[in-house]
């Protein structure tokens, strides 16, 4: 017989699921969301999704090939990063900046930590944070959805030459008789103009020409598919949305006139997309159930705090990155008790230990020599 013995460290029990299978299902569940995004913004959105995803795949290929890291393109993880990154960027984001974002997300968010499974931060959000720091003007420039000619012409800022500044969309919108003020995102309109968009309009994203991402309702449905098939843990999105809604409700109840209602906070911006698809990234979120609740609650509260009390209109990205950074700590303090250990700890707590000379170290003056039972391996005198 030609049997080989393989020596491995834990875990020894393997589920039937592979990384590829989980990632592929996440990609499938993202496809309707991407389709909705293209339906909203037309050609520019389609080009943005293609270019960003392609640049992520290109960077992944380059790093996997030259480095010593595990992983391959066929595990779909870079595809997910690309799709999510494209969904968080404005549809008229210049394509060359999108490519920069994609490369930065894989290089800074994933490759330098050692590739798939080793990343500390969500790669898509690292890419977005990089372009937010590099091109703050372009990333805040939104355009209205459902424009008449969206399937035949690009948003002019999309087609900027590499390294060159994008064209001004305000003049283009003016020529099309759109109010340029209406092209700000709902959160920016609330922050800078005090205008609160009705929550039901935000849920479907279908009314008017709002500058919003894909419909939160659709994202929740796609996320529910993943959660039902156990490809994603339901606790994290529930904790994120619950804590964000609860803290917004408390603040609304305390000073109602200055702050919007909690439903507006839940359905505006990228909170739903972030809670369902980004906070749940397996490598960067806690594995312990109690830790998941703590992690989600942290993200939700941070989102509301950043939105209300900082200069930025949107805070989901930084909130999730902070949550990612806290993940190792959360995991450490929410370790479940190993089987059999809880009882012994309880027993020890109940026992009482009076101060006895035997416990005092031998160096201390006047201390007695410990009895033999405390020094089992006492060296014998020669």
């Amino acid at each position: 017989m030609n049997a080989t013995t393989e020596i491995r460290s834990a875990p020894h029990i393997k589920g039937p699921r592979s990384v590829e299978q989980i990632m592929a299902n996440v990609v499938y569940s993202l496809l309707p969301v991407c389709a909705f995004f293209i339906y909203q913004y037309g050609l520019s959105a389609a080009a943005s999704i293609l270019v960003v995803t392609a640049s992520c795949l290109f960077a992944e290929r380059a790093f996997v090939r030259t480095g010593t890291q595990a992983g391959s393109l066929s595990d779909f993880s870079a595809t997910i990063t690309g799709l999510l990154l494209a969904l968080t960027l404005p549809p008229g984001f210049p394509l060359w900046m999108g490519a920069v974002a994609g490369i930065a997300s894989i290089a800074l968010g994933k490759a330098i930590f050692g590739g798939i499974g080793f990343n500390v931060f969500n790669p898509a959000l690292v890419g977005r944070a990089f372009v937010q720091a590099a091109f703050p003007a372009a990333i805040a420039t939104y355009t209205p959805s459902f424009l008449a000619g969206r399937f035949t012409e690009f948003i002019p800022s999309s087609l900027a030459w590499p390294l060159m500044a994008p064209a001004d969309t305000a003049a283009w919108l003016k020529a099309m008789q759109y109010d340029t003020l209406a092209s700000a995102s709902p959160l920016a309109r609330w922050k800078f103009e005090g205008f609160v968009t009705p929550a039901w309009d935000l849920v479907t994203s279908l009314t008017g020409h709002m500058a919003v991402g894909p419909s939160p309702l659709l994202i929740v449905l796609c996320g529910a598919y993943l959660a039902l098939r156990r490809f994603m843990d339901w606790r994290i999105p529930v904790a994120v949305l619950g804590s964000a809604g609860l803290s917004a409700l408390l603040i609304y109840a305390a000073f109602g006139t200055r702050f919007p209602d909690p439903f507006f906070m839940l359905f505006s911006g990228g909170l739903i997309l972030g809670a369902v698809y980004m906070a749940t990234d397996m490598a960067t979120s806690p594995v312990t159930p109690r830790g998941m609740w703590a992690y989600g609650a942290l993200i939700g509260v941070m989102t509301v705090v950043i939105r209300y009390y900082s200069g930025l209109p949107e805070g989901v990205m930084y909130a999730i990155l902070i949550g990612n950074a806290a993940t190792p700590l959360i995991e450490r303090i929410t370790q479940p008790t190993p089987f059999g250990k809880g009882a012994s700890i309880q027993a020890r707590r109940q026992g009482s230990y009076t101060l006895h000379p035997d416990y005092i170290s031998r160096e201390e003056a006047g201390a007695k020599t410990p009895k033999k039972r405390f020094l089992k391996n006492k060296p014998k005198k020669p």
Binding site: T66, P94, M97, L108, I112, F130, A133, A134, F135, P136, A138, A160, L163, M164, A165, P166
Partner: protein, 215 residues
């Protein structure tokens, strides 16, 4: 000068530029490296100021190496370095106030630059003046190269210019992050990655050659 000593001198000179490059290999003096390399001009003036201090103080330390008691050597080095830094400080102020304002406190901080104290302690105090100064010159060229490598990338991406000359025309989109502190870390990381990749490649090639000889 015999051929051997010339080769040795050349080796001393090249050590700082390549094999022991203070920025990319020893990763010393990170404070000015990250802080003042927003533009190539700043990087160059910082590099030259450090070079002057390094060469002069290494020469003087080497001259005094036999008369300074061991117990007070660090204090002596600091006094020597501080003297030359004061000279450089006044010279830059006299030559160009714009550069002086751009570099700010980092000129005075050359005193505590660990490249200089490190060279004085590790090399100049054990070698004759000529050797010490040649080695210091190589080190400072290596430092200038390191600063320029960061400064050019950050200026080209962060402002679209190189030594103040516009490269891409008026329509250039500046990468704001490159002139901020994170940009310094990202660019430095990129260069370190490049150099370690080159080093690994060279080692792999050498190993392959040796393997070939063995077979």
């Amino acid at each position: 000068m015999s051929d051997l000593s010339r080769a040795q001198t050349f080796d001393e000179f090249m050590e700082g530029i390549w094999r022991q490059n203070p920025v990319f290999v020893m990763v010393l003096g990170m404070c000015p490296t990250l802080a003042v390399t927003v533009s190539a001009m700043n990087a160059l003036s910082m590099g030259l100021a450090t070079a002057f201090v390094l060469v002069c103080s290494c020469g003087l330390v080497s001259l005094m190496r036999n008369i300074v008691p061991k117990e007070v050597r660090i204090a002596t080095y600091i006094v020597i370095i501080a003297t030359f830094v004061t000279v450089v400080d006044y010279v830059i102020q006299a030559v160009s106030l714009a550069v002086y304002d751009a570099l700010g406190a980092f000129i005075q901080l050359i005193v505590v630059n660990c490249i200089i104290l490190g060279r004085a302690e590790a090399h100049a105090s054990k070698n004759p003046p000529i050797t010490a100064m040649v080695n210091a010159l190589g080190m400072s060229l290596g430092f200038v190269i390191g600063l320029l490598a960061l400064g050019t990338v950050r200026e080209v991406l962060g402002a679209g210019t190189l030594f103040g000359v516009s490269l891409f025309g008026a329509n250039f989109q500046p990468w704001v992050v490159m002139v901020l502190p994170p940009g310094g870390f990202i660019v430095l990381g990129g260069w370190l990655l490049l150099f370690s990749a080159l080093k690994r490649r060279k080692e792999a090639r050498l190993a392959a050659q040796e393997g070939g000889h063995g077979a």
